[in-house]
Structures are given as C-alpha cells and as structure tokens.
C-alpha cells in the first residue's frame, strides 16, 4: 500500500537494529525443512516482520525476503508460474484481490489448525468460509491536527469535513496560516484514495450491488468532488505534487494545521526525528465525517500474508510457520510503536489513537470487489484535470465512469 512509507533515517535505524539482533539470535521456529521466499511492500513494519521471519533460517530451511514498492506489479506473474517464485505474498485488502481473482493463493485452514495457535480469530481473513490470509496490522488515514493553532484560532477539534473548512477559514482569518490544510492530492494512487475515502464517508456503495456497474455518478459523488476542490482553497498552490510523504515533511516544517494522513506515519510525525516544537503540539483524532455521514470518511486497511498455491505443501507449511513467527507477539512486544498491530499482546501507543478512534467510529474497510482496482485506476488518471481546476465535477465523474466501463468491459466484468 502506498500510504506506508517512513522517513529514511528512522527506517535505516530500525533496519540496523534488526540486523544486529537477527545476527545474534537464530530462533527455533519448529520448521523441519523447506524454502521460504517472501515478497512484500517496502515499509518499516513489513521489514521488521520479514527479518523476524528470516530468523527461522537453519541448515535445512532457507528464508529470503524481497521488500519492494513494486510488489503489486511483481506478485501476479511471480505467483502464476509453477513452482512460484515466492512462497509468501504480503498483501493488503486491495492487493489481495488480484491474487484471489486469478486463484494464485491457497486456503490456509489446515495450516491455521496445525500451526496457528498464537493467532487471534480477528486476524483470519476468510473468503467464502475459507481462510485466505492472515492479517497482522491495521492502518487507516486519520486526522492530524495542531492543538496550538486550533487553540489560538479559537476553534474546537473538527469532527466533519464541513467543520474542517470552517476551522481553516478561522485559522486564515486569525492570520495564523495562509494555507492551513493539506491532502495527498498527487494524481495517481494517492488522489484516487482521497476520493475513495471521502465517498466511503457518505455511506454509499461504489457499485450497484451484485454487479460491476459503477454507481458513483450521483449526488454524493458530486458532493465528494466539490469537497475535495473546496479544500484546495486552503492548500499550498503546489497541492497537486503532494503525496503522503510530502505531507509529513510539510507537517514537520510547521506549514499545515489540519490534514488527513496515514496512521503508519503518525509515529514519524511525533517521534525522535520530528521537529520537537511541532511534535509537541501534534495531536491525532478519528478521520472527519462527511456530508452528514455518521462514520469517518476514510477506508480501513489491513496488511497480512498469503501463501502461494503453486508451491509444495512442505514449502507452504514452512512459509506459514516462518510468517507466524515473523508477526508473533514477540515481534509486536519489541516494536510496539511501529504499527497498529492486530496481534495478541499489543498495547496501543500514543501514535495509534487515530487509527483506533477511526476504526471504533465504524469506518468501512477498503472495498474488496474484484473490479475495485479498475475503478481506482480510472480515478487516479481521470480526476487530475478536475483537481487542477480545468474541468467541472460532472465532466470528471462522467470521465471516470467512461474510463472504468471501458476497462471493466475489456477485463470481462461488464
């Protein structure tokens, strides 16, 4: 998932630490033999899980891990061949869909029964009654706000996007900041995710139930776009170049008062490497609601692992055990502030309050329909002109619908 990226120094520090500990202690994971080959996205929490899994290596067990931001493009071809290039694909609720669509991952029920004693029931991702993935961490975007700025402007912590706009106006009127808001509006994955978040807050569905027919060209879709545009009034004119990482830099520079940002970056915004003056006044809350909706206008995400279908049962068992060890309660106990873990024994730290408040607020999960990825792609290319102010909302929605329908027809969904 693109949202998970951390600052380089923090990552290097953690990586160095892990290599040291991994070098010293070789754990006994109870694996007799086999080959474990992990493919995952590249951010701190996953690197930690990977290196813990690598501890399971022994004379008869080999463990290799490839953490790369290109994992989504690699996983399909790599798991299609027989035997698969990787035995483990670490996925999120969007990237598991293409593996499910192509039938490239195996049901894990037997493995869970045999080796999954330490797993909690809510870690099991089941599809049609079969466990297909084991989740180990949750993530979502949520509100970051500057308590000092809000106080000086005399506004309460906003709970809806309408209040966010009012607060931004108050901050500007008080002469505190010219551009108090920021969002990840960079055309591409980030911009599409902003639309998905906001639209989820309306409570509407993206598709006509039970079919691949798109259903966003309605009043809520228009309201979503209008709100995204209205917020840009209060953003730095360069807002179209901002992705999640840039948001954190802007935050750290004290340029932003309110933003909706990834929970996995909350630790970096308040951690040791953050600007101490800003970090001291940084607070987190659930993502705002939108358009009279009752749930936070944001998607919930999980990250977990899946096991490839085209590998031997021996490798599958070895891979499962290594990954359970990688995301074990010990890992979580040693790295409590790196992620919002779903694993047994996790005590949420101060950086996790936003994600937990958002989940408790009843936010919906990122949709797992087989054609959601096609919609995300269509949104990522077709909304750019609207956000740049070169197109109106009706035209943008019509373009999204047309681009999506063309792609869905070609992929055999319509």
């Amino acid at each position: 998932m693109i949202g998970f990226k951390t600052t380089v120094p923090a990552v290097l520090g953690a990586a160095a630490l892990i290599t040291l500990t991994a070098g010293v202690a070789l754990a006994d994971c109870g694996i007799e033999s086999g080959s474990v080959r992990i493919l995952s996205n590249d951010f701190e929490a996953l690197r930690i899980v990977n290196s813990m899994a690598e501890e399971c290596a022994s004379d008869s067990v080999t463990v290799t891990a490839n953490a790369t931001a290109e994992h989504k493009n690699i996983q399909g071809p790599a798991l299609t061949i027989d035997p698969a290039e990787y035995t483990v694909a670490v996925v999120a609720n969007n990237s598991i869909v293409s593996l499910l669509n192509e039938g490239l991952i195996r049901p894990l029920d037997d493995l869970v029964a045999e080796y999954g004693d330490s797993l909690r029931p809510n870690q099991l991702i089941s599809v049609d009654g079969k466990v297909m993935a084991i989740a180990f961490m949750a993530n979502s975007q949520h509100m970051f706000y500057r308590s000092d700025i809000l106080e000086q402007a005399g506004v309460d912590v906003p709970t809806s996007y309408e209040e966010v706009l009012a607060a931004a106006q108050a901050i500007r009127d008080a002469g505190l900041m010219e551009y108090p808001l920021a969002a990840a509006d960079k055309p591409g994955w980030d911009l599409a995710a902003e639309f998905v978040n906001m639209y989820l807050g309306t409570g509407d569905d993206f598709f006509v139930p039970g079919s691949a027919e798109l259903a966003i060209d309605n009043e809520n879709g228009l309201a979503t776009l209008e709100m995204m545009r209205a917020m840009t009034e209060f953003m730095d004119p360069d807002y179209l170049t901002f992705d999640a990482n840039v948001l954190n830099q802007e935050w750290d520079a004290g340029n932003v008062a309110i933003m909706t940002q990834w929970g996995s970056l909350a630790g970096a915004a308040t951690g040791e490497n953050a600007n101490p003056e800003i970090a001291a006044n940084t607070a987190f809350a659930a993502a705002p609601t939108f358009h009279g909706g009752s749930t936070p206008a944001v998607a919930l995400w999980w990250d977990g692992f899946t096991i490839a279908k085209n590998i031997s049962d021996e490798d599958a068992a070895a891979s499962f055990q290594a990954m359970v060890h990688g995301a074990s309660p010990q890992t979580v106990a040693a790295n409590p502030n790196v992620a919002t873990w779903l694993v047994e024994g996790y005590e949420p730290g101060p950086a996790a309050v936003g994600v937990i408040a958002t989940a408790n607020g009843g936010a919906r999960a990122y949709p797992m329909q087989p054609y959601m990825g096609l919609l995300h792609t269509a949104l990522s290319t077709e909304l750019a002109e609207f956000m740049a102010g070169q197109e109106d909302a009706e035209q943008a929605l019509a373009d999204v619908k047309a681009a999506y329908s063309t792609a869905a027809r070609e992929a055999g969904f319509l």
């Binding site: 493009n73 399909g76 609720n93 969007n94 869909v97 293409s98 499910l100 669509n101 192509e102 039938g103 809510n122 870690q123 099991l124 991702i125 089941s126 599809v127 049609d128 009654g129 989740a135 949750a138 055309p187 591409g188 994955w189 039970g210 079919s211 691949a212 004119p237 360069d238 179209l240 170049t241 919930l300 999980w302 779903l342 919906r364 999960a365 797992m368 329909q369 087989p370 959601m372 990825g373 096609l374 995300h376 792609t377 990522s380 290319t381 002109e385 740049a388 197109e391 035209q395 373009d399 047309a402 681009a403 329908s405 063309t406 792609a407 027809r409 070609e410 992929a411 055999g412 969904f413």
Partner: protein
Amino acid sequence: MPHKTFFWFILPSVVAMILFIALPIASVVIQSVYVEHERVLVEVENCGPFGCSTEVRVDTEATEQLRSEQPLGRFNGLGTYLNRAHLAVEEVGTIVSTSASIGEALTRIYNLPFYKAFLFTLIYCFVVTPLGIMLGFTIALAVNTIPRLLKGPVIFFSLLPMIITPLIGSLILYWMFSSNGILGATLQTLFNDPTLTLRQSPALTWITLLVYGVWTAAPFSFVVFYAGLQTVPGDTLESAMIDGASRWERVRFVIIPHLAPLATFVGLVQLMDNFRVFEPIVGFSSEASATSLSWLVFNDLVGQDSQAFGSAAATSVITILGVVILLTPVLIRTWRDFNAKGA
C-alpha cells in the same frame, strides 16, 4: 553478387528480423483483437478484522475453465480499437453531433485519452524533430570552427544530454522547474505569479517537455552532422570563398546541399525516436497535462490489478501505423533518390 550468395549473406539478418520484429508485431496484432473472458462472479461471505460482509468474488475455477478452452480470450474484432480508450468512434460521433461550435467539439474530443495523447505526441514530433536537427547542426558548425585544443571538451559537453539516461535527465530538469527549484522559483519571481508551477500550468508543462526534447535530441544530429562536415570538399569551399561568398552563403549553398542526404537520415531516425516519447512524461510526472501514445501502453500494463493486454496491443498497433504514415514521405524521397542515382 549471385542470388545464392546474396541469399546466404542476408539470411541471418532475415531470421533475426522475423524473430524479433515480424513475429512480435504479428502477436501484438492478434492480441489486439481479443479481450479477456467474462469473469464468472459469485457472491460470498467475507470476514476480516473489521467484520463480515457479503461481496462479489471471481469464481476462479469456472473462469479458469473458460480460459483453458480459449486461451486467447473472447474475439472482439476491432471493438478495442473503436472503444473510448482508443479511437472512441461512438463518443466522437456524439460530440460532433451535440457540440455548438467546432471549438467546443475539439475541446471535448481532446478530453478523450487517446486524442489527448495523440495530439501531444504529434506536436512533440513536429516541434522537437526540426528544432533538434537545427540545434545539432548549429553546434556542429560551431565545433568545426573552434581551435583544436578546445574541441575535445566541447564535444564531450555537447554529447552530455545523450549520455544521461532520459529518465534521470528529465527528473533533474523537473526538480529544477519545481516551485522550490532554481528555474521554477525564478519563473515565479519573473512573472510575479505564485501559481505558475508545473502542476498548475499545462502550458508550462508542454514547454518544458519540448525544451527537454530538443536538448536531448540535439546531440545525435550534432554527431552525424559533425562527421558529415569533415567530408565537405575543401576545393568547393575555397572556390566559393574566391567568388566572394560570405560565411552564411558558404553554409547555405555548399554545406547544406552537401549534408542534405544526411539530414534525411537524421530526420528519419529522430521522427521515429520522438514519436515514441515516453521517459519525459514519467520523469516530469506530467500525466495530468500531457501524455503520449507510449505512455498509454505503459499505463495499460501497470494497472492496479490486472494488465490490459488487449488495450495495450491496440494502442501499439495504432502507434506502428502512425510511424509508418509519418515515415512514408521520407521513405518515398529516399526511394526516388535511389532510383535517380541508379538511372
């Protein structure tokens, strides 16, 4: 050369061309007339950390069976070529019949992804190719006259744009043009307009891309013309000087005619190169303001979930046809020259 010797002489090239050019093109053409099978969808109960819900899933076994029966997919004829992502025949028809003015119709057609990419590709081709050739020629003339001692370093610097990987070159220029970069910040100060950024201004994006294109295309023309300049007959130049021709007249009436066949060759190569413009689009992240045909193919193949092979293949075939049409005048000219020499 006897026919038999000639045959054996060119056989390796022919085999290589069939394997690496003809067969891939045939495969692309075939793929472009097929689309994926209809997915068999089923509703199932999904559970996760955030609760359970009933959602649609692809029935992989049923879909797999369809695929094994017909591995190429569903035959779609020219459907992919005519859909909205390509020639958009239906949409263009609607636009033409419902638009009040030609200007409005053109704006709406430009909103279609294929035409947007096509227009930029063509303009890039026809602006960058002549300007790049002219710049290369000018550099060649300049280098030809400077003292021997300076030639080496100057040639090296002139070739630099060709040595730098296009993606890196465009990224460097992009950073310089971003609003904190030296060029971007200067522009904003000059025009006193804080919204003048690469993201906000499509015009600025286009100009930057074209400038980058000329910068990176010039070295190739320079190298070829510089080599050509060494073959200009000294006698002719000297007699032109005796006749009182100025430097400009010597260039215009002796050097340019002498290098004309080379210019045809350079133009041919540059046209092909510029028609497949791709790296600067990615480097400048200019997708919102400018895309190219090659970028469309790339975009189809790195989708979120699945790769749209049919769509990418159709765009590729259209690109190949475009190159053929573009090159036809140049090829006809070469053919005439060849015949004239033979006669």
